[in-house]
């Protein structure tokens, strides 16, 4: 153990409005070489290919054009690409992480695969879900939420979803339209998304 124990953690600060060239450069800022974007799963990744999309709104229902959404998810068999998940992994390169900035109309978008069920509390299993972190101008700290999938029988027994009052659960369950799942994120006000402290 080091002797210089810090007084506490570094406090969070907003990403501000001008994060794009640093965090989501895409092709707009070609001098920035390393990037990650909404293409979460390469072609050939095992699993059901899906699009997860929606819009981000503020407390007046105005689209938020300068937010950034990050997702973290398991593969189709419910395994995380991380050492803390010790289960044997098939040889695939699925990293399970994606980033999307929002467009002028607040739209975020990911192309990925539907995750499998993951280990939960007390030996149980969780329903398929994405972990979501929401960053943006006007957000001094990011907010955590989850995206679940409509039509999953295991939603009914998911321990985290069951912590959410039943009249707010729909803010976490993406609506299916073919291979697209759609869920809006409302930072405040009517239909406010459920955010988690983790």
């Amino acid at each position: 153990m080091s002797t210089d124990r810090p007084d506490g953690i570094s406090p969070s600060q907003t990403v501000g409005p001008f994060f794009h060239y640093g965090l989501t450069p895409g092709s707009a800022y070609p001098k920035v070489p390393v990037t990650v974007d909404g293409q979460v799963a390469a072609q050939g990744t095992p699993g059901e290919r899906i699009v997860v999309t929606g819009r981000v709104f503020d407390g007046e229902g105005t689209p938020v054009p300068d937010a950034m959404i990050e997702i973290w998810q398991a593969d189709a068999e419910g395994r995380y690409a991380h050492p803390a998940d010790g289960r044997a992994r098939a040889s695939n390169s699925f990293m399970g992480f994606g980033r999307s900035d929002t467009l002028a109309d607040g739209t975020y978008r990911f192309e990925t695969i539907k995750p499998g069920r993951t280990p939960g509390l007390n030996g149980g299993e969780q329903a398929p879900h994405l972990l979501v972190a929401v960053f943006g101008r006007g957000m001094l700290k990011h907010l955590y939420t989850r995206i679940y999938f409509d039509g999953e029988p295991s939603n009914a027994t998911d321990a985290i979803l069951n912590l959410v009052p039943s009249d707010r659960r729909q803010t976490l369950i993406a609506r299916r339209e073919g291979s697209t799942y759609r869920l809006d994120i409302r930072l405040q006000g009517d239909g406010e998304t459920v955010f988690f402290e983790i």
Binding site: S10, A28, V34, E192
Partner: protein, 236 residues
Amino acid sequence: MTLEFPRKSTLAHPPSLHPSYTSTVLRAPKKPLIIVPHTLSELTGPVYGHDKVTETDSDLTRQHDGEPQGERIIVTGRVLDEDGRPVPNALVELWQANAAGRYVHSRDQHPAPLDPNFTGAGRYVTGEDGRYRFTTVKPGAYPWRNHHNAWRPAHIHFSVFGPSFLSRLVTQMYFPGDPLFPFDPIFNGIHDAKARERLISRFDLDTTVPEWALGYQFDIVLRGREATPMEEPHEH
């Protein structure tokens, strides 16, 4: 499952609603957050892009044909957890304005010059000692219209991936002695004065390279895993 990451640590963060930073007013949730136990989902986190980080990613003065304008600086420090343990293999991303206080961002309208030799984005993956190191230029202050005569103190944005999704952190590094601190709602959104001070880098002569660049030390502290619970020895 017992909690591996303490929750009280997060009290250092600013509240979501801080009205003097006007953009928070419509973007802060009104309903209380729901506290969730930590599952494998929260205790794992992404490892991406680490293998693609090259040497020039952390030297922002060598990313273009010429050298950027401004005061060259070295910013280094350690990524630690709150128990003082180094965090190895952490991806540290940063972005900043140029020396004139202008971002290369397409929507930045501040009428300060863009520098053709400066993008202002960099990356580093920490080693076993948790240390990172960037060469860059000192960013300028800039106006931001939050209120009359509003100027942001010079700062560098840092994005850090710790070992789990719950240790994800985006923060800002400030420079010592900045006269704009008392007037900045973003900096002052952190209510605890000691926590605010943790975002101010330290000028360090040992990091300074003679005839070449000033040096600053800035440690970034993430939530730490609690030690395995032990029965404390005690007397009855």
